[in-house]
Amino acid sequence: MRARTKRKLAGAAYVAPAFLFVLAFTVYPFMRTFRISLTDESLLVPAEYVGLDNFRDALDDDQFWGAFRFTLKYTVLLTPILMIGGYLLALLLATNTGVRRFTRAVVFIPVVIGLGVSSLLWYWLFSPRFGLINAALQDLGIIDEPILWLGVNPNTSLWAIIVSITWKVIGFGMILFVAAIQAVPKEVNEAALVDGASAWQRAVRVTLPLTMRTVLLVTLISVIGSLLAFDQFFLMTAGQPLNQTATSVFYIYLNTFPFLKLGYGAALSLMLAAFILIFTVTQMVLSRRSAR
């Protein structure tokens, strides 16, 4: 009994630092955010309790839901590109040769650049007056007039940002996929090869199922990242035209900081967090089922 208690105490001691960390940096801020969401906090004047008014207002806020729909659209379009593109790159680059190692490093380089910096770089690239993309397309005779990539047409803006983000983050998924593919036992692939499976059949029927856990992990990271998209839209379109490229986090930022409506911003944040939580739990449940 005493030994059991000792073991329990030792276990608790091991867990304690992580538990305290989560308590201080996750639970407490979350509770604080929830408390703020029940007030009209503005920082400039003392806050008053407003109950669930902020949440009610959010439900009727067309701009928030418009931004949310746009964020979903962005997520739905970007995720398959990152997943499929990253996986194909990984299939091509999984073997350790000099050229492939070099190419992997090159594809991965943009991942270590800050998102704000890369967004500004692409903003300049897409600039109709100063950008190299329009200049190159004009020099090649593909277009006559510069294309207004950003902030004019919502679809063009969206695709321009998707291109920039693909360049920026596709290397992240690729590296994880490469690690997963390299962990697939050689014998399994060799057996498939002996059975006459083509490269494509081995990729789809052997490698993919054996790397499914990584695929699900990368999907999760990619979707959450897309749902929380901010920097690239803030810097490249500022939500334009007519707020049609404003993401949920961008709208939350506007309310919280420039508008100083912290209570409302907190309520919106919690609603978005709840959605992401539901999505994550659903995906984890589904992935566990598929792994059985």
Partner: protein, 456 residues
């Protein structure tokens, strides 16, 4: 097969390398596309020709200033002060613009507020009305130096007839003219447009889109650029834009529809570069310096920027006109310096204010660095006559006064920007656009405020 895949991998990688290469070169190679460096004369003095104007021996003071403002100017003011007040050194910290309020709120909670705070002047009414700033009226209100501070800054630093700050630095908007393009079009660059019709006619004469030259410029995706350069056209014509507080009417003035029609006409006639529709402010300061725009509303700081970007550019400045000849206006921007609640160094902080308003600092620091003075009664002393010309805007400059400037005007989602985009790029009836904007602005200004008292 392996070779095939290796080659494919290499080609894929090379494509991405190329994309990266393009990105890198975009920021470094083309001289006319490089982002502007900070506006500055060739040398910034390390020693300032100033003397103490009073006494301050209470020990070091702290000052916060928002980032993204005129850091060079603020650095110089603090350096000049520190040079002559060794017992009262100011320790300057830059705070990210959007973090200023949260930082201050945290500071008030923990008792760690700065002794001086530089604030974007548009936030003046919000801070003063919320009781976050200390009243300096009794300490400086009667001082002749304060009697002549630029009007735009004074208005936003005043609440209930009490003064809460003085200008830290000032920017004004003006009409910039490319003299070479004027001459090419057979126009006299020394005769600026005196009303919007003349502005249109001159822009039309200059316009040469086949050669990439456009008559005028209006940023299509930048609320700040437009309040700075387009709002003065409305003000000059007798209109007002933002409601100050709940109960006030938005967009007041019979001239507003005409000014908006004028802006639509400028677009429809192709006098404005179509690329301007994508302008979110990031490249706004580079436009005039590129030398392809005949006339453009921009700020006094653009004199330096344009010349840095394009040393051959020959420019002149004039006031932004209204519908009728003789009507002019300008936007006064910049920062005010204030004392936040909680600071116990009010008198020393006001001493700093008196110092920066003194003749010697106005001349030997502000104007020496090519910045505008912050008092309207000082004699201009500038090396560059174009900079001296920008001074004319101070006397007609104004600043919007509202408790919700960001929501109404400055936000990318503001009704102000939405109105302009509908005017510039759609055929929707102007009256309808104005009515929608009016309703949105009046709803925003009353949000969270007590309903205005009704009369009648």
């Amino acid at each position: 097969m392996k070779l095939h895949r290796a080659l494919l991998a290499f080609v894929f990688g090379a494509g991405i390398v190329t994309a990266g290469g393009i990105t890198t070169s975009a920021t470094t190679v083309p001289p006319d596309s490089a982002p502007p460096e900070e506006a500055a004369p060739a040398t910034v003095p390390t020693e300032w020709d100033v003397e103490a104007t009073g006494t301050c021996d209470g020990g070091p003071m702290t000052m916060w200033e928002r980032s993204g403002g005129n850091a060079q100017m603020v650095d110089a003011l603090v350096a000049a002060w520190n040079q002559v007040y060794p017992d009262c050194q100011i320790e300057l910290t830059y705070i990210v613009h959007s973090e200023m309020v949260p930082q201050l709120a945290r500071g008030i909670e923990t008792g760690d507020v700065p002794d001086l705070m530089g604030l974007d002047l548009i936030y003046g009414p919000q801070f003063t009305s919320a009781g976050q700033l200390q009243d300096i009226t009794d300490l400086i209100g009667d001082d002749p130096l304060a009697a002549n501070i630029v009007e735009g800054h004074r208005s936003v630093a005043t609440w209930d007839d009490r003064l809460y700050g003085v200008p830290l630095y000032a920017d004004v908007s003006l009409l910039f003219q490319n003299r070479a393009l004027f001459e090419q079009a057979g126009l006299d660059p020394d005769v600026p447009p005196t009303n919007l019709q003349e502005l249109h006619d001159m822009a039309a004469a200059i316009n040469d889109p086949d050669n990439g030259v456009y008559g005028y410029y209006l940023a299509g995706n930048c609320s700040g650029c437009n309040i700075f350069t387009f709002a003065p056209l409305i003000w000059a014509s007798g209109g007002t834009i933002e409601p100050a507080e709940c109960g006030d009417e938005a967009l007041v003035g019979d001239s507003i529809p005409t000014v908006l029609e004028w802006a639509r006409m400028m677009h429809q006639e192709g006098l404005i570069d179509p690329a301007a529709q994508a302008e979110n402010g990031e490249t706004f300061a580079n436009v005039f310096g590129s030398g392809n725009t005949g006339i453009m509303g921009t700020g006094n700081f653009n004199v330096f920027l344009a010349k840095q970007q394009n040393p051959d550019i020959d420019l002149s400045v004039a006031l932004l006109p209204g519908l009728e000849s003789g009507q002019t206006a300008s936007f006064a921007g910049g920062d005010i310096v204030t004392v936040p609640m909680g600071s116990d160094r009010l008198e020393d902080a006001v001493e700093f204010m008196k110092f920066i308003l003194s003749d010697q600092v106005q001349e030997n620091v502000y104007m020496r660095l090519g910045n505008l003075p912050t008092r309207s009664d000082v004699e201009p002393v500038f090396d560059d006559p174009d900079v001296a010309d920008t001074l004319q805007a101070l006397s007609v400059a104004q600043t919007p006064f509202t408790l919700k400037f960001f929501e109404l005007i400055n936000s990318p989602q503001s009704p102000w920007l939405q109105m302009l985009q509908r005017v510039y790029y759609t055929d929707e009836p102007i009256d309808e656009i104005i009515a929608d904007t009016k309703a949105q602005m009046e709803e925003i200004i009353c949000e969270g405020a007590e309903a205005p008292a009704t009369t009648g």
